[in-house]
């Protein structure tokens, strides 16, 4: 057992692990399966990660960090209107789900498999992401673009968006932009 830096090699291994975790689930994915997918033997795996748990944490950290970066970038390069910002966030969320699908599915489904320390560390990242959403929703409420309880609206919207991993087909006819449009139209109270 050795390092725990973020070498490029480790990044690639993390990506491949995410793929398997989605296919099989974390518990059903054995270190031998992971090693085979990575083209090495199971013993060699522990040169890159302290243990199996750390692979899961790495997958989720990678995905969440990307989501944060993308969402921030989307907010920076869009209008200041509440509607534009709402739409930018929704679209960014869906695009992350598309480009970084595996990591996010893992984050949604296997969160409970994290040990307490990892969960604690990663929930800070997740909170930072959700704070972006809440700021945008607050602004929309202030402009009276949407109505209702701040807390509830945020959770309803995130639920609707996160649920898309269950049914959204990136190869289908609908683009993330379309979906974001429809969602904003649904909750918006103007013509």
């Amino acid at each position: 057992m050795n390092v725990m830096n973020d070498s490029p090699r480790r990044k690639e291994l993390t990506r491949q692990a995410a793929q398997l975790f989605v296919q099989e689930g974390f518990d059903r994915t054995t270190v031998r399966m992971l090693a085979q997918e990575m083209g090495i033997k199971s013993g060699s795996l522990f040169h890159h990660f302290r243990d199996k748990q750390e692979i899961l944490a790495a997958v989720i950290e990678e995905g969440t960090q990307n989501a944060l970066v993308i969402a921030k970038a989307a907010l920076e390069q869009c209008d200041n209107s509440a509607e534009a910002r709402l739409q930018a966030m929704a679209r960014a969320h869906l695009e992350t789900l598309l480009t970084d699908r595996n990591a996010h599915v893992v984050a949604l489904y296997e969160w409970r498999r994290l040990d307490p320390e990892a969960r604690d560390h990663l929930s800070h990242l997740r909170d930072a992401y959700e704070a972006l959403w809440e700021a945008v929703i607050d602004a929309a409420l202030a402009e009276r673009l949407i109505h209702g309880d701040r807390f509830l609206v945020a959770r309803f919207v995130m639920g609707a968006l996160n649920w898309t991993v269950r049914w959204y087909d990136p190869a289908g006819s609908r683009s993330p932009d379309d979906l974001a449009h429809e969602l904003v139209a649904m909750i918006t109270h103007r013509a």
Copy 2:
């Protein structure tokens, strides 16, 4: 190894299994843990269920069947207006999540652990439930109470509702009725 009827004993065992599956996840729940929770030895478990998979299927079937019954009852004893029916469905959904929480959390999180035959059988049940939703949403669209794509609206709404298992606290100050109200208000386009 023996029967696979639906004796009252089996119902009770199923209920206890659901509890453990929620706490630990399906894969991490061992037959020895299940047996201990049930007050029997692990070998005796296989008198009631063919294998571990069948316990999972039993849990999910029970929960989905209950949801169907409750939703149908709610629709029968409410106004014919689209808004009332929308609210009745949302409220029924949330109440099921409250009274039958364990089974539904399992259905949401462990669906992928079902083997293909069980998944096929249970997806028919789930489709019947979703059909109720789509009928109600169709009516609301026809009345122009809500706008948008039938398919997308249905999935956004179900996502928002199912996501509640992540954050909703039944002991908190909000009732299922409150939540249903807020959700309908959010997507509704009238004063």
